[in-house]
């Protein structure tokens, strides 16, 4: 089930993955590896500077079934909050 929009402050982050500087396909490859190390319900933040990551992360979440809780951008750094669903 998709949750409502949450503020980043409300989201408890369990793990952070730095993908800054990496380009396709590495951000999603590393995200998928990192999410496998978490427990169901835990939240991963992936940080990327790849402009293509926004579209890719939406597709990745749709196909893998993990939930993209929130996205943030500060400067050229994109942050994706992903909740492990299975």
């Amino acid at each position: 089930m998709k949750g409502g929009i949450k503020l980043a402050e409300d989201i408890k982050v369990d793990s952070t993955l730095d993908c800054k500087g990496l380009v396709c396909p590495e951000p999603i490859v590393k995200t998928n590896m990192a999410i496998k190390k978490l427990q169901v319900g835990q939240v991963l933040v992936m940080e990327s500077t790849d402009a293509g990551a926004t579209s890719d992360m939406h597709s990745w979440a749709k196909r893998t079934g993990h939930q993209l809780l929130k996205e943030e951008a500060s400067g050229n750094v994109l942050k994706f909050y992903v909740k492990k669903m299975k």
């Binding site: 380009v23 396709c24 396909p25 999603i28 490859v29 998928n32 890719d56 597709s59 196909r63 893998t64």
Partner: protein, 157 residues
């Protein structure tokens, strides 16, 4: 009950640097999306998994009007131009931080991409199994078709 995983079946038939990227990027991305991925390497595509060649794949400047260098294309036929075009492409790729072919091959292997070398073209081109990187299996058209018939996506590259 878990759903049967989606699958991508790729054929890699080209051995230039630029054409080595699409199959490896798609296969590693597919694994990241919890899909199954397999690549059938045939003809010059075998160079991508040839341990003597995968680290030195080249970009052809001749007949490649996309080369972003303002010069007559025929000059691409001159000695040294292939090496120069390759050096330029590698330098752009490294500036953009694109993973190298050896790194993508490692990612593919770690992710469990099924890699199949085409026996018939290995025979034609004198490539031995020991010339290929570890983790590659050898097969023919039927091996590919048996894998691809259950695939959701199949591409010839």
């Amino acid at each position: 009950m878990t759903e049967k995983p989606k699958r991508i079946a790729l054929i890699a038939s080209k051995g230039t640097l630029d054409m080595a990227y699409p199959p490896l990027i798609l296969a590693t991305a597919a694994i990241a999306m919890d899909m199954e991925a397999g690549i059938f390497f045939t003809f010059y595509g075998l160079d991508i998994i040839n341990k003597h060649k995968y680290n030195s794949l080249k970009v052809p400047p001749l007949g490649n009007p996309a080369m972003p260098v303002p010069m007559p294309n025929i000059l691409g036929a001159l000695p040294g131009m292939t090496a120069m075009a390759t050096m330029m492409m590698k330098s752009w790729m490294s500036k953009a931080n694109v993973a190298s072919i050896p790194k993508l091959l490692d990612m593919a292997r770690e992710g469990g991409v099924r890699m199949i070398g085409c026996q018939m073209t290995m025979d034609v081109m004198g490539v031995k199994k020991e010339d290929l990187i570890d983790g590659v299996e050898i097969g023919g058209a039927a091996t590919y078709l048996d894998y691809a018939v259950d695939a959701n996506i199949s591409l010839f590259i």
